[in-house]
């Protein structure tokens, strides 16, 4: 019986965990937010600006989803032991995704990219590239 402490996680997000995880997915969406904010400020077309906000909010939500999947499905307790900063890093990156969603400040998007890069660094150190990507033949040989 588990009535005290943290409840156990029951996963709802992936019926068939494919085993492919890469922070690059989150980075692409975060880069998109970064560039959209730039285009928003460069434009005087109100319709374009409104569309930019809508798309940017959607992409920022995708960043959060990708980070969430990476955190829950790829990283394991042994990674947390080896990289104790992981939990804080993911927590801050999720918060930053929300900030980018509501903000039109490009500096906030830059901060999010920086956080994703730190997660990427740990993912690589944990062997993520070899374990959870299908590499091109020449990269395998390298």
């Amino acid at each position: 019986m588990r009535m005290f402490g943290r409840p156990r996680t029951a996963y709802a997000h992936c019926d068939l965990p494919c085993g492919v995880y890469d922070p690059a997915q989150a980075r692409i969406e975060a880069e998109s937010c970064y560039k959209i904010i730039e285009k928003y400020h460069a434009s005087k077309d109100e319709v374009f600006r409104q569309r930019a906000v809508i798309i940017k909010e959607k992409r920022a939500g995708m960043v959060k989803d990708h980070l969430d999947t990476l955190w829950h499905d790829y990283f394991k307790p042994e990674h947390l032991e080896k990289f104790p900063e992981l939990h804080d890093l993911f927590w801050k990156a999720a918060k930053q995704s929300s900030k980018v969603k509501e903000s039109l400040d490009q500096a906030e998007a830059a901060k999010l990219l920086d956080m994703i890069d730190k997660i990427d660094d740990i993912w690589r150190k944990s062997g993520g590239l070899e374990k959870s990507r299908v590499l091109k033949p020449e990269k395998k040989a390298a």
């Binding site: 019986m1 409840p7 156990r8 029951a10 709802a12 997000h13 992936c14 989803d65 969430d68």
Partner: protein, 107 residues
């Protein structure tokens, strides 16, 4: 008999959201009910809705249509989600759905 689970992911929306916490009672699955099960493909729990019951074989499905369903043996069922206690109430109620496999979980 009673355990707790926290939802991770979005495949059970709109009935259950990421971060929701539930009471799970170790009672047999019923068609249309939300259950927690041991994932046969890994050492973790999944939360799904019972779509079909064929003897000992239970087909589990997500509420969102973009996820595939899969089968588990009855022994993999941890229990039935009987109450969402966090949040107890949600402002936007799940839309009305039809069919035995798509009833929202009772809060």
């Amino acid at each position: 008999m009673l355990t707790r689970a926290r939802v991770a992911g979005h495949s059970m929306e709109p009935a259950l959201h990421h971060g929701d916490e539930l009471l799970v009672l170790r009672i047999p699955p019923r068609l249309g009910s939300v259950v927690v099960a041991q994932d046969p493909r890994g050492d973790h729990w999944v939360i799904k809705r019972v779509a079909e019951i064929h003897g000992r074989t239970i087909r589990l499905a997500s509420d969102r249509d973009d996820h595939e369903s899969f089968e588990v043996d009855r022994s993999a069922i941890v229990g039935r989600a009987i109450l969402r206690y966090r949040p107890l109430l949600r402002r936007s109620a799940p839309p009305a759905r039809t069919g035995p496999t798509s009833r929202p979980i009772r809060p």
